[in-house]
């Protein structure tokens, strides 16, 4: 297991930037998800780490050794990094057990030990019964697990996964989440997991790096991303809710800033003294008939156990949860509390981008 360090990592394809000065440190044994809209550079970052692409600038270090940048380049076969491809990339002419034992054959592991390690990897992924099958005779989920076993069998220093569940149906995805978590617990491998499904990222990862146009916007634990987004993009991309621009009132409390939000003064948490926006999560909104802030219900969907309301308050669209169904067009009173304020002067531009992705 090794830590991964990206410093000022940039990549251009024929002049067009795909990654722009990425700086990140992934601790040994950490499970990190790369989350971002299509085309933001997630796969590119993964392929640079694996050694399939050369960086245009910057450096990559694995376990303290520089593998790319600074005039040197370690090819993929010498990096000791395992990859699970979206297409699985199983070799169709090799049986399941031959696929899994190949990394050990390449390393000239003696036959007896090889057999033992292959069996262990297969049983860990629940594939013992399929050892002699050919990849074409497996279901999607089984193929995925073969790819995982092939990766696990040679004790890679880090495991990279590029949208490993994109080709599977919903039910299978949930069960594969279990497999990945188990895999991570058992091996303690450093894992870098690419996905554009935020549910997957928030559920699986120790930390999530949110990317947008080749940059890492925020790199933090899932709950921090949700509660304390650094800018409009992260606030809009991760989790439900709304982002509204605000004006500071200048009052500072022990518990935060007093802000003017939708005409109301609300106490908000913040990391800056001069915020420009607040993130209003559904949990921050309480419906109450006598509240002065009025909002019109524009949509109501049942989520199981509660309703999700879309509200129009002072021209902004908010999201709230309710126990009872609301009729569209009805007016309700809302109270805001526990908001998170941040500074993002270019915010509106980014909001449009988020909407464009939605």
């Amino acid at each position: 297991m090794a830590e991964l360090i990206f410093s000022n990592l940039s990549k251009q394809f024929d002049g067009a930037p795909a990654l722009d000065r990425i700086n990140a440190q992934i601790k040994s044994g950490e499970f990190v998800a790369l989350l971002g809209p299509s085309g933001c550079g997630k796969t590119t970052l993964l392929r640079l780490t694996a050694g399939f692409e050369h960086p245009s600038a910057g450096e990559i270090r694995i376990g303290g050794q520089s593998v790319a940048g600074g005039g040197q380049f370690v090819p993929p076969e010498e990096r000791g990094i395992g990859i699970v491809f979206q297409s699985y990339a199983l070799w169709p002419h090799k049986s399941v057990s031959a696929n899994v034992s190949y990394p050990l054959e390449v390393r000239r592991v003696p036959r007896v030990e090889r057999q033992a390690r292959v069996n262990e990897a297969l049983s860990l992924t629940g594939l013992s019964d399929f050892a002699q099958r050919m990849p074409a005779q497996l279901s999607g989920g089984q193929r995925q697990r073969v790819a995982l076993a092939r990766c696990l069998v040679f004790d890679p220093r880090a495991v990279l996964l590029d949208e490993p569940l994109a080709n599977l149906d919903l039910a299978l995805r949930a069960s594969m989440h279990e497999v990945f978590s188990m895999f991570h617990r058992r091996t303690g491998a450093t894992m870098l997991y690419v996905t554009h499904d935020q549910g997957e990222a928030l559920a699986l990862a120790d930390r999530v790096a949110v990317m947008e146009s080749g940059k890492i916007r925020q790199f933090a634990a899932p709950e921090v991303l949700y509660r304390e987004p650094v800018d409009c993009f992260v606030a809009g991309f991760v989790g439900d809710g709304a982002v509204v621009s605000v004006r500071p009132t200048g009052q500072v409390d022990r518990n935060g800033l007093m802000l003017k939000v939708l005409g109301q003064e609300v106490l908000s948490r913040s990391a800056t003294a001069e915020p420009s926006h607040v993130s209003i999560r559904p949990e921050s909104i309480t419906l109450s008939d006598d509240a002065p802030l009025r909002a019109r219900v524009t949509g109501c969907t049942y989520l199981g156990g509660r309703f999700r309301l879309s509200l129009d308050a002072a021209g902004e669209t908010l999201v709230a949860f309710a126990r009872q169904r609301a009729t569209i067009g009805e007016t309700v009173g809302i109270k805001l509390q526990d908001l998170w304020a941040f500074r993002d002067p270019d915010g509106t531009v980014l909001m449009e981008k988020v909407l464009a992705y939605a």
Binding site: V74, P75, I83, W91, P103
Partner: protein, 568 residues
Amino acid sequence: MTKTFFAKGSSRSLDRLLPLILLPVALIALGPVVRLLLEGIGFGDGFTTDHLTKVLTRPSTGTALMNSLVTAGGGTLLSVLIGATFAFLVALTDIRGKGALVFCLMVPMMIPPQITALAWMQMAGPSSTLLKLLGLAPPLGSPQPLHSPGGIILLLGIQHASLVFLTLRAGLRMIPADLVEAARMSGAGSLRVWAQIVLPLSMPALIAGGAMAFVTALGNFGIPAMLGIPAGYATLPTLIYQRLVGMGPSVLPEVAVLSLLIGAIAIMGVLFSRSVLSRKGFGLVGLSGTPLALSLGRVRGAVEMALWAFIFVILALPLFALLATSLIPAYGVPLTFNTATFDAWKEVLLIQPGTRRAYGNSLMLATSAATILLLISLPLAWLIQRRPNRLSRILDALIDLPYALPGVVLSIACILTFLNLPFTELTLYGTIWIILLAYLARFFVVMLRPIQASIAQLDPAMEEAAASVGARLGRRLRDVVLPLAAPSAAAGAILVFLTAVNELTVSALLWSSGTETLGVVIYNLEDSGETVMASALAMSIVLLIVLLMGLVQAGAKRLPKGVIPWQS
């Protein structure tokens, strides 16, 4: 567990060495063509156009050019007629037994032209064993009707009909079925749909196929050599052959000009056909893939009968005639139960040193060419596909040239290049190596394209997965690329073998005593009146070809599209 992950050095040496194969490949494949171009402008004696003007203004050049254009043109018309009829019927209608029909139509393309000519000659004329058998032979002394421009046109037309067929059928498959269905819904009958919708839409493919048939007919040597030379009727390829064989290497500068002339016409034809195909003309939208199946109704049986009868006449009948001739004791003797004998077969396969040597040479050349090309093409195709650079792109674009150019052109180019090996006193002319080098250059693309197709279809992630688990380039090529490209490579190798073992045009100009090939020996046997032995030898080759074609056909399901030339 501890492991050293960063092994030092050595690892990527193959990565650096591999691109070096581009250079010899470019030299062998393209060097001779470049050398020939230089010869045209007086390479060696300073820049001059003297040869050009001298040769081009000579009357024999004009006659041969005229004859070439007439026979190739006439043959093309016939090819278009046959190929288009088959393509329309096979692709658009509900006739049965399409697979077998197509296979039979393709056999003439794979049978070498001199054998085709020999077989047809056994079917006509006063000495035809078959006609005698049936009591239909014309009186002795009457001329062989095929020794004429008409005969050449007839055989060229049949030989290259499959080219038109394949191009047109591929074009027809692109026509969306719903276009036709829309027309039928508007009340158009089958014939009207064909004339007003299908025919206009398939015109580009038809023209392109015709252009290809023309170029191939223009370069054909075997048919005009067998049928034209006895009648004193020379085309450009036979003129080059006769001059070179008659006068030796001293006429090289002259014949170089002749071959440039025919090469130029061929290139124009190829470019024309490509541009017609790429300028699709119509933006075809809609769901293609649903095969059209216009119902022929009650005439279906009759149409099927007619097609099979035609196949019988162009394929079975000549081969029967060839077989009949191969079974008689001496030319002119009628075939009966009492006269039938395998003597000629025994003679050519077991006794005659000349024919046995030719078999040995041809098999050796074909095997070597197939093996060497197989070994080079795999890494080469991988390089072109995965590590493109300027040289590999140029090579990719031009490697068709030695195959597209008529065989005589390549032969002359090879003689020019290898007559005096650069920087040495050695010559390859007269040795078997010059034939091998010419085969390598000519058949490169036959081997390369199938492998390229299968590597292009290979998900790069397969190789990346192998790299990520620690396999270096050499192992990746061996363990991942090779096994997955193997079916195509095998098909390519068989195709090279098939084409090389029958080759006549190139070896006719490059052989010398001791290095004769099967193609040359058949021609020489017939030339010296040993028709029976020529027939036996030819028949044995036909059997070999059909066997090999069947072998490729049997593996067809595992090959990428476009690998087998007789499928599309």
